[in-house]
Subunit: 297 residues, 2 copies
């Protein structure tokens, strides 16, 4: 399907994409660039890339598909570094967990070339970052959100849809704003809460001993607290308004629960818990969203 | 090791204990009582119990080990129902997630007979309650906290230690107050937060569509939000003071994170996240606690 993938950023997300395309026979050659030469070297040894480029720009040269898999805060600089080699018909995508800021950065850096960029967010990841955790199956069965702009080339949106589908992902389209509102709720806020919760327990007197008693509920609840600090610093800052809005909603729900606990209202407490419990028991990952969730533009 | 187990409450916890003792060849006969005859019937069909008793008292008759596995709020009534058949040398245990209230209930109901009761809390569970989810391996590799009182028969504490060890659990001893403080931090608060978080997301406009986009981080973070409403109503009320104290600590940690997000202080935000992330990455379930964590009385 593709001759050459230019991979900018050879971490967990980029490395897994390259491995998935190779495993599916969708690309002949992968040229990768990383800020750190040791990362590029490791990506080569792991078979994620075939050759190392000395710059982001050189990773783009000759590619017919380019994946930008860098921390969200590095998006604009990356676009500026590669725009001189952006050719019509070449598919450019990112993997950023926020989309409003990525689209704004792309507008500033790419100007009239923005039509070649299809913003993408694969809903996949691990709490361990780095190419050493890359996995050809990372995106299998996962959702990928595309947030094309009015200027985005429809043919490239189709190509993007095809390549993610071909590696087993389910593709949805939304506006960047709808994306950021939704992911503040289901991803960015839980990370914020997990960071806050783990810190609160660990830093209190006796916290270390408490942690030694924690069981499987704690293990799963705090798994995302181990996520990469620089990636999450960027996400929480990039999507701060929506995330803080969601945090306010959460605080109201917590207030309501604490109020009935404090007043000893067992019936009201059971009702609140039951509503959450039944809702969560009925939830299944990757349920197809209602048509309203995915307005194409 | 034992002739007859009297099981009061044939749910997930009780049923799993009976199955584990049977699998390990530690008991010859299990007599079970449940409020609902259909539960007892199911426990019989699943091989967790051999015979159904018509009352809690009758489940105790002839037993040399008794497990009370009822919601925490039913503890006192259960003790009152069975105290007339409490014989010296018979091991009585519970499985409650809170210990201060269970011990108080036992004191009120059992009075001078309290020496026969070894309060126990196995750190195990599933978000699905009920005998149909009982599992002989539920306690394998898990920790069990015993909170014996000054009056508790040392020989029974030893028996309790032996039986949990024999089914693969690791036994620790603490005071009821230390237990409740620790589990408010590592179990009761996370449940409260998970209930609040799931409700906040689900009940907002567009919440249903947001939920359809949630990925594996959300799945793990909210797993405990599906926990049993009556059990968690009881736990949160029984341990309300410690849980609310922990919630205050959590809110301070959340305030600190939100403050640096709002002010755009990327460096301070990264530091806060890194401290949580490194702490969580270094944590492993069931690490042996320091001696200070487990004062024997």
């Amino acid at each position: 399907m593709f001759q050459q993938l230019g991979l900018i950023g050879c971490g967990l997300m980029g490395g897994s994409f390259a491995l998935a395309l190779k495993r599916a026979g969708l690309v002949k050659h992968v040229v990768g660039y990383s800020k750190s030469p040791s990362t590029t070297e490791r990506a080569k040894r792991l078979g994620a890339i075939d050759a190392a480029a000395e710059s982001a720009l050189l990773a783009v040269a000759g590619a017919d598909i380019v994946l930008i898999a860098v921390p969200v805060s590095a998006t604009e600089a990356t676009f500026k570094a590669i725009r001189h080699l952006m050719e019509p018909g070449v598919l450019f995508m990112d993997v950023g967990s926020t989309k409003r800021d990525v689209v704004d950065a792309a507008r500033r850096a790419l100007k009239e070339q923005i039509g070649g960029f299809v913003p993408a967010h694969p809903i996949a990841g691990k709490e361990q970052a780095g190419i050493q955790h890359a996995d050809a199956a990372l995106y299998t069965g996962r959702q990928v959100i595309l947030t094309p702009l009015p200027q985005t080339e429809p043919a490239l949106v189709q190509k993007a849809t095809d390549v993610w589908s071909a590696i087993g992902a389910q593709v949805l389209k939304m506006t960047p704003d709808n994306h950021d509102a939704a992911f503040a709720a289901v991803s960015h806020l839980p990370h914020l809460l997990a960071f806050a919760y783990f810190s609160a327990v660990a830093k209190q007197p006796g916290g270390k001993d408490f942690l030694s008693l924690a069981g499987p509920g704690f293990r799963d609840f705090t798994r995302i607290a181990a996520s990469d600090p620089t990636i999450w610093r960027d996400i929480l800052l990039a999507n701060r308004e929506e995330t803080l809005k969601q945090s306010t909603r959460f605080r109201h729900a917590l207030d309501a629960l604490e109020h009935v606990i404090r007043s000893g209202n067992a019936e009201a407490l059971e009702d609140l818990i039951r509503s959450a419990s039944e809702g969560r028991a009925a939830w299944h990952m990757g349920s197809p969203p209602s048509p309203a969730a995915a307005p194409a533009r």
